[in-house]
């Protein structure tokens, strides 16, 4: 018990020097898989915007175009049962984690076939079998949850199973969230309790219409914020999926081994507005063109053509495949029935009482054994 106590109370005052090598790249088929995922996410988001304009999707809707490499590269670097939690720009991560696009689209359409039976919407993608603990709409609110998921895996591994902590949680946030108190509390707890969680700051440089320098101190040295909580950091090119993967593999392995948190700033850019109603008056078209000039998909395509025998025909074929897949997802979502009225009072409480009618699983989970 003495040993454990020491460990729990070890809020280290010095950052251990961590030398992380870059993990080796996987084989070509895996790399092609990443390209396919990024193409899928982009096509999905294009069709999402169309559907929103056609009023098939309501509410707030935030698309991920431009940032695909962050989700794809980081998620590829961890195990399928490592938990993921994130903010409201969450379609891309859900697809990268393996959610069938039809459930994601149907959720936005507010249909019973949606991953949350149409009760969550665009900002709240959940997928239990894929260990995706949501999309969360309140900026920064997901960061204590991320610490909690890491707490839970550590508790399960060490207390319930009497072994070594062996999971790592991915907790994504935008650059707007770094000014929320919840994030600092989450980092403090993660540092204090040695929680294996990677806080992934997707720095797309704008929190809604506010450029990072206008809202954040030390905007060019964000790692100082994690260092203040005894958490190591890395800065990664978030528009390079290869770099994302290689860095994340090393970081995730280190977090798993050491049972410690990490802070990663993934530098990226969102091509579209913050949400569907954003005319982007706060930045220039020249800046956008410059950023789109180093597009993550273009870069992976070039890399694969140069070094892995991918051809233009191969790219076309992949593009056709994802277009078909997304079209089918949209059709499926359209044909999914409206969420029936008896769902209104379902999932409020697990049990039945008063007007509440217990809970049921979405179609996505049918056939899954818990």
């Amino acid at each position: 018990m003495d040993k454990i106590e020491t460990e729990q109370n070890m809020a280290s005052t010095e950052l251990p020097h961590v030398q992380l090598g870059k993990a080796p790249l996987p084989e070509s088929p895996i790399l092609l898989g990443w390209l396919r995922q990024m193409l899928l996410i982009r096509e999905f988001e294009v069709r999402t915007m169309q559907a929103y304009q056609n009023r098939l999707i309501g509410g707030f809707c935030h698309v991920y175009i431009g940032q695909e490499a962050v989700a794809v590269g980081s998620i590829a670097a961890v195990n399928p049962d490592d938990p993921i939690v994130l903010a409201y720009r969450c379609h891309g991560h859900a697809l990268a984690r393996g959610m069938d696009p039809k459930y994601c689209m149907a959720e936005m359409f507010g249909r019973i076939g949606g991953c949350a039976k149409g009760k969550g919407g665009s900002m709240h993608m959940f997928d239990a079998p894929h260990h995706l603990y949501g999309g969360h709409g309140i900026v920064g609110a997901q960061t204590p949850l991320g610490a909690g998921l890491a707490f839970a895996t550590k508790y399960e591994d060490e207390v319930l199973h009497d072994g070594k902590s062996q999971h790592v949680t991915l907790c994504y946030l935008g650059d707007g969230a770094i000014n929320q108190g919840a994030f600092y509390e989450a980092m403090n707890l993660a540092g204090l309790f040695n929680l294996p969680v990677i806080f992934i700051l997707e720095n797309n440089r704008y929190s809604m219409g506010t450029a990072i320098e206008r809202g954040t101190t030390m905007a060019s040295e964000l790692h100082t914020k994690s260092a203040a909580h005894g958490i190591n950091h890395a800065i990664v090119d978030g528009k390079d999926v290869v770099s994302m993967y290689q860095s994340f593999k090393s970081i995730a392995d280190w977090c798993r081994e050491e049972s410690r948190p990490f802070f990663v700033e993934a530098q990226t850019y969102r091509y579209k507005g913050h949400s569907m109603s954003d005319p982007r008056k706060y930045r220039t078209r020249e800046e956008e063109a410059r950023e789109e000039g180093s597009d993550c998909i273009d870069r992976l395509e070039k890399f694969l053509c140069d070094e892995h025998d991918l051809t233009t025909d191969g790219i076309k074929q992949l593009t056709r495949q994802v277009k078909t897949q997304v079209r089918e997802a949209v059709d499926w979502a359209k044909n999914s029935p409206e969420t029936p009225m008896d769902e209104l009072y379902k999932d409020v409480y697990v049990d039945h009482w008063g007007p509440f009618t217990g809970t049921s699983k979405p179609e996505m989970l049918q056939g899954e054994d818990e």
């Binding site: 969550g120 949850l145 909690g148 839970a152 508790y155 207390v159 707890l189 999932d347 409480y349």
Partner: protein
């Protein structure tokens, strides 16, 4: 069977300890719960028994540790979060209301949140307004959570066990002023189910409905009123969500008069909700409108005399009962 008399705080400790022995997924976290043995000594001895992995001292970081516990509950662990005071839960309003209470719904039934938030609620005695919150009216407005307020040691243990075993988030509101009270708590395992109000005093002339500490003043008032020939029935609602309106209605149909005693402020409160439901279900039975006794509609004052006048007290309850029963 011989009586086993213990303190309210020890009843809470027994409930947590027994559930933690039975289920390794249950753990306790909060400020000063471990090495300090609890700011109010509720978790005394638990660190020694369960070790620091299951009895966890947190920094003063309510938003952070509440959110962390909710994340853990999403994976099926069963955290007990101690708020030193529910007054401090206000800085954790987002996680406890937005995440804990709504997770099951927003995830379409995929992720529940089996968690207990517990701690002191209400005026502790000259703490000033920021430390004297009664959160029940504020939080009970939110669907997805359950809310329980024990009055005696027996209920404290039985209801906390029910809370810990519940698969939904439970807001468990204790009163600092009740922690040292004593009562019979049986040795054997038992629980007190939610949604079952308890008739603590039988009477024929007026139904007094309350939750938690104000029940103490209801008993004092009932004794005083008995001398005047007014016979009060006292109902301990026990839980606010679920609310056992049936037991309350049954009583009012018998007494034809009702006073609700609620320590929160009057506007949009538990008291107004209960009164509204009694009016609806006992419309033809009531001889008078439902009277309500609350804390006065001002911030909680520090000065002792003002604070006593502010809280629902025996004098206010007696006046309300006399008025409701036309004995003025």
């Amino acid at each position: 069977m011989s009586e086993r008399i213990i303190e309210f705080r020890d009843a809470l400790c027994e409930a947590m300890s027994e559930e933690m022995r039975d289920d390794q997924k249950v753990f306790l976290l909060g400020e000063e719960v471990a090495q300090y043995n609890g700011a109010y000594k509720i978790s005394k001895g638990m660190l020694d028994e369960f070790g620091p992995r299951r009895v966890i001292d947190t920094p003063i970081s309510e938003s952070g540790f509440s959110g962390m516990a909710i994340g853990a509950a999403m994976r099926g662990l069963r955290p007990i979060v101690e708020f030193m005071s529910w007054s401090f839960s206000l800085v954790a309003a987002d996680p406890i209301l937005n995440n804990a209470a709504k997770m099951l719904y927003m995830s379409g039934g995929q992720f529940g949140c089996p968690i207990v938030f517990r701690g002191n609620d209400g005026a502790g005695g000259q703490l000033g307004s920021t430390h004297s919150w009664c959160v029940e009216s504020l939080y009970a407005n939110v669907p997805g959570l359950k809310m329980a307020i024990p009055y005696d040691a027996y209920d404290a243990k039985g209801m906390l066990k029910t809370a810990i075993r519940d698969d939904n988030p439970v807001f468990f509101l204790e009163s600092e002023r009740l922690l040292s009270t004593t009562g019979h708590v049986p040795q054997e395992d038992y629980t007190v189910p939610f949604g079952q109000a308890f008739v603590r005093r039988q009477g024929t002339d007026c139904t007094l409905i309350s939750f938690g500490r104000p029940l103490h003043f209801c008993f004092e008032a009932a004794e005083e009123l008995a001398k005047e020939g007014i016979d009060c029935e006292i109902i301990d609602g026990r839980t606010i969500r679920p609310l056992d309106i049936d037991t309350m209605v049954k009583s009012v149909k018998k007494t034809n008069a009702c006073v609700v005693v609620d320590q929160s402020w009057s506007f949009a409160s538990i008291g107004s909700e209960v009164a509204s439901q009694i009016h609806r279900y006992c419309f033809d039975d009531l001889d008078n409108f439902v009277h309500r006794v609350h804390s006065d509609d001002v911030p909680t004052p520090y000065a002792s005399n003002l604070e006593q006048a502010y809280l629902p007290n025996t004098r206010k309850i007696c006046e309300a009962v006399r008025s409701a029963t036309y004995n003025t």
